[in-house]
């Protein structure tokens, strides 16, 4: 039963690591803008498009 000491400490560490990641993500500004990335996703990638045109394939 005394293994619980170790277990709890390990789980705290893991949880703490996740908290650290959360803090890092916030500080690096990931959550500052939640609107623009959504719009950015829908942009066509120019290279791919011109490749498709060049190979002339269309289904």
């Amino acid at each position: 039963m005394s293994v619980i000491f170790v277990l709890i400490i390990i789980s705290m560490t893991v949880a703490g690591a996740f908290l650290g990641l959360f803090i890092w993500a916030n500080k690096s500004g990931q959550f500052d803008d939640t609107v623009t990335p959504g719009m950015r996703v829908l942009f066509d990638d120019k290279k791919k498009k011109s490749d498709q045109e060049k190979s002339g394939k269309e289904s």
């Binding site: 709890i8 949880a15 703490g16 908290l19 959360f22 500052d32 623009t36 829908l42 942009f43 011109s50």
Partner: protein
Amino acid sequence: MEQIAVEEEKKLTCYHCGEPCAGETIQFEDKNFCCTGCKAVFELFRDTGLEDIYAETNRVKPEEEDKYAYLDNEAIADTLLDFKSDNHNRIKVKLPAIHCSSCIYLLENLHLFNKGIIKVHVNFVKQEADIHYNPQQVGLKTLAALLDTVGYAPQFKTEEKKKKKSHLSIKIGVAAFSFGNIMLLSFPEYLGIQDTIDQQFQVFFAYLNVLLALPVVFYSASDYFVSAYKGLSNRFVNIDVPIALGIIVLFGRSLFEVISQTGAGYLDSLAGLVFFLLIGKWFQSKTYENLSFDRDYKSYFPLAAMVTRNGELEAVPIADLKEGDIVTIRNQEVIPADSILLSDRANIDYSFVTGESKAIKMNAQEHLYAGGRQIGEQISIKVIKPSSQSYLTSLWNNQVFKPEEDLGTEAITNRISKYFTLVILLIAALAGAYWLVVDARQIWHVVTAVLIVACPCALALSAPFTNGNTLRIFGRNKLYLKNALGAEKLHKIDTIVFDKTGTLTESKGGAVRFDGYLSEQDKEVVGALTSHSMHPLSKKIQAYIGGVPKLKIEAFKEIPGAGLEGSANGHLYRLGSATFVGEGNTREGQVYLAVDGEVKGYFTIHHGYRAGLENLIAHLKGYQLAILSGDNDQEKQQLEQMFPSQTLMRFKQQPQDKLKFIKDLQDEGKNVMMLGDGLNDAGALKQSNMGIAVTENVSTFSPACDGILEGAELNQLDRFLQYAKSAHGIIIASFIVSFLYNVIGLSFAVSGALTPIFAAILMPLSSISVVVFTTLFGNLLARKKHLL
């Protein structure tokens, strides 16, 4: 709602993105585009590569470069840059022209325009672009000019760009982390088996809990402590004081219990308390973000002025302007500091200062104030007062930012907040004392619950949220109030004063007719003559004649109250009242034309009254109405037919007369609302309790008026006023609701039936319910009144 438009404006939709083309439409290959972004993307789909199209548009126009010449100045550029190094600079610019996803696409591909641009990152909501560029390959000036050329003129932020990020989300994250883990470790407590486990574990868990609670108390809850301390150091007990106190009490008590091993403490309640408090704060801030404007008046000033120093023209930051500096001001540029006009003539638009959009003609040696805009040719001015001390800044510092007078709900909110916390502390102390005698174990629960559950935030939120919602709804209906206070002031109005010309009458439309013979040559001269004048009658005649006046008028004179005079082709032309040209009496609206003293005929200009006016007047039964006009009383009879009999009418009013009229009414104890067009009643607008500028063109925003109403919507005035009255009712109702909530909550807390954690949940819940209540009812009301 009927819309009688003189000219049909076809709503063009952009071929690419499908949005309506508001403002400038770009035409390309028989298609319409709303912005260069969409046009560029369209071209992209036709052509092979981006580079080809952009190579064409890459040619930066030379005038554009000049506009940003001040960016060559290192000192200025440095204040704007976020990051600077030898080959990598970073700057954030505001691009108000961003409005669709194609704009993002174009801007983020800007690096294809110019090799010196490394990366562009757009924030759509903020309309900002974060630009990384290589200063060795492209200068800031060229960069700005390039942005301008592709259609996104950049605005540089002058003041503090870095707002202190309070990292609320991180604090919430930390609090949540601790909250969850403390609860996990408190399981034995919850299950009631804490006495069966080893003492070792109890101690271990307890201390671990304390460890987890430390970041919560010292980091997540820090805002409350800071705020409470600030308040107390100013001898002011604000709402954060009981919260801070509650947290300290809980933590202190828990620490005591853990160390003395008399219990497990209340650390789970503490962490949960802070967590829910922060969630409430976050929610409030999100809602506030949507409701607030951010007007940085300082960024209206030009960043630098073109000063002649040592015979050379150089860009100088306005903070460095010295007395005696000779500054060159071009068309549409803002005067940076109080100065004296050196050139012969100037045409200054002080709309930003006084609300008068009519440009004032100034002569040499006259005093020019900062904030005015030069319309027309280039002028030279000499600075007499450095920027920071200018009359204008003091005007803004006083007028705009000074706290408004006490009004109804705001005053109540402030008064209640003052006593609220003291009462709460008293109740907490009393409850604590009571339970000390009856059942000592309950004290801490009760005291903290009392401290937490009492929420003045509900009270503090009712007014701003209702008013914010009102602002939003009014804005949708083209009435733009300057601030939330305006929404409040509306419900107290009992007298409405109308300006006649431009407010009751439309400045567009209205028929112009010429009786007499007007030769082509004379027509041209009249057109040129009237183009020099800003008088509404001149504008109407000019519009009637049409075309672009190219003729040069010599010895142009505009005599107020009489007319225009000028020479062209060797003849003396006079356009104005009958007495001015040498004829008998005038009838209203008749403008006579005389060439070399010979009367050729007259223009009859019919002022159209706005549609729906009679309907509006019928609905304004409860108000005392008045009409002020600068014209003579020719239209009195017509007005008497439209308006009720007790309407006060004054004619031939000068701006000071209008102001005096309003003041007299106010001295009688009336609450006056003035509607004018801002051309010559800026003073009256400012004097009235509520000054609304009625315009056809909603781009003037001045400290002189409390709101702007688009002319076509004047007939909705009664609805706006009714809504304001009902909105006031909503505020009162939500006051009552939040008061009841506090009473109920406190009674539960005092009786010991409320745990701190539950109190912590109730607190944001009450704020949310107030917000929901006011918004919901506000919208319902608007829908009923057909305002939404």
